[in-house]
Each structure stands twice: as structure tokens, then as C-alpha cells.
Subunit: 118 residues, 2 copies
DNA sequence: ATCTTACGAAACCATTCGGTTGCACTTGAC
DNA sequence: GTCAAGTGCAACCGAATGGTTTCGTAAGAT
């Protein structure tokens, strides 16, 4: 068997970030470790599941590089890779343009109504 | 064990918008109808699936109010509810604050390095 | 050296998911 | 009225998902 700390424990497998954030527990994990790095045990105390279940979520989050492990003794501190969150923001950008355009159009309509009124 | 509901409290919705956008086909549907309202038949021509499969995706998107049907004769035109997309943007907001803060800190570091260099 | 703690892996299970096929209903054209 | 077109729905199926339990291994404590 492989020694514990020196081999990649999580296979580098491409995961869909949108599928990663689909699960509410994983979003909660993201919210927690956004504040500070946490171990699987510490994380598990916040949920109604076992540590192993949290570990599986962390595996998925790590596979899509949303989360990064830091090995410290026999503990592993997981922290958020905030850069990866930008991918969601970039995907959202095209739709943000749409709703901003609609706001401008609405502003125009309101301006016209106001000028007609006054 | 921590008191449970503090983090997962908001997951009582019938359909989760994050789960809705997790599927790549549904994201493609969103992208298509963002441009113009489309019928299930017209949508299905863009994918390698049956019309019924697209219909099931549209049902999920409609249930979480990401998509709105408009009945016109025997056809149904589905259009994007752009307002709903803002929910994702609002969720992202907290993390956007984090990465913007890091950028500012990085800028500070770079400024210090530059001043020391010059 | 031995025990405890922290962790991931594996095996297993129930549920959900995405897809297909077949069917029923409604609308519009003939 | 009859027929074709456009839909949604139910039943079914294989695969994926999220969870648990059991285990093996590494690191720290006694």
C-alpha cells in the first residue's frame, strides 16, 4: 500500500463545477471554508452526516479544484480556491448583460413617462 | 454535534436552482432561449436527445421558475426568466467580495515591491 | 511499544437522474 | 368529421448520487 502523505490521494479528474455546487451540503462546506481552512472532522460537526460523507464531498470539490488540501501533521486543512468561483461568475456574465440591458430599457421608459407627466 | 439547521435552512424549495443548472443540457437550453423563446420541438433539434427528454428538462427549469411557458395555439414557447438568474449572482456576491479583497491586497503588495525597487 | 486520533478507500444500499418508448390530449388543417 | 402536428405524462431502465459501515494506514500521545 502507498504511504499516506506523499501520493496524490485524490485522482486528478475533471469535474463539472456546476455539478459540484449543486449539492446543498457542498455549498455549505464552501461557505464554511471560505472563512477559514477547516479539517474534515471540524466540517462534519456542522452537518447531520458522518465525517466520511463530508470527505466524499471534499473529494468532489477537490477534483474540480474548488477546494485545496493542506497537509499539516495528521490533519488536512481544506481551503477554498476562490479563483475557481470566478468561472461561475464568467458564465453568469452573459446573462448579467441581458438583465442590465433590460434595466436600461426600463429606465428609458420611466424617463419618458416622467417627461410626459411633467 | 452542532445544532443542525443553521446552514441548510434554505434548502426547502421544491426545486433548487443550483441543481437545475447542474446539467449541461439544461444550461444549453438556457443559453438558447435567452436569445429568443423556443418550442420544445425547436429546442430538441439542437440536441442529440428526444423531444420528451427536452420536455423533462423544461419541466425542471419551469419548476424552479428559471423558465416561463407561453401557450400559443398548440405550441408552447419557453422563455428565460432572467430575474431568476440573479439568485445565482446574489449567492456569488459573498465570494466576489472575497476575491476582490484579495486583489486589493495583491495590488498593495505590488505597490510596495515597486516602491522598494525604484 | 502501544494506544488514540485523523483521515481516505472500499463495499454496499436506497434514491435520484437522465434517457427512451408508448400513450393520451389538444390544436389546427383538410 | 378526420387526420396530422405539438405537447405532456407515465412506466420503465441503466447509471450516477449521497449516504453508511467497515476497514487500513499515518501521525501524534502516553
Amino acid at each position: 500500500m502507498q504511504p499516506f502523505g506523499c501520493i496524490l490521494m485524490f485522482e486528478v479528474m475533471k469535474r463539472d463545477i456546476f455539478q459540484a455546487i449543486a449539492d446543498p451540503t457542498r455549498r455549505a462546506i464552501i461557505a464554511l471554508i471560505a472563512l477559514q481552512a477547516m479539517t474534515p472532522n471540524a466540517l462534519a460537526e456542522n452537518f447531520h452526516t458522518t465525517r466520511q460523507a463530508v470527505s466524499k464531498h471534499l473529494r468532489i470539490l477537490t477534483e474540480c479544484e474548488l477546494v485545496k488540501p493542506e497537509y499539516r501533521g495528521r490533519e488536512i486543512y481544506y481551503s477554498l480556491e476562490i479563483e475557481k468561483m470566478k468561472e461561475i461568475d464568467e458564465w453568469l456574465e452573459q446573462y448579467r448583460q441581458i438583465w442590465e440591458t433590460r434595466y436600461e430599457q426600463l429606465d428609458e421608459v420611466l424617463a419618458v413617462l416622467k417627461s410626459q407627466k411633467g
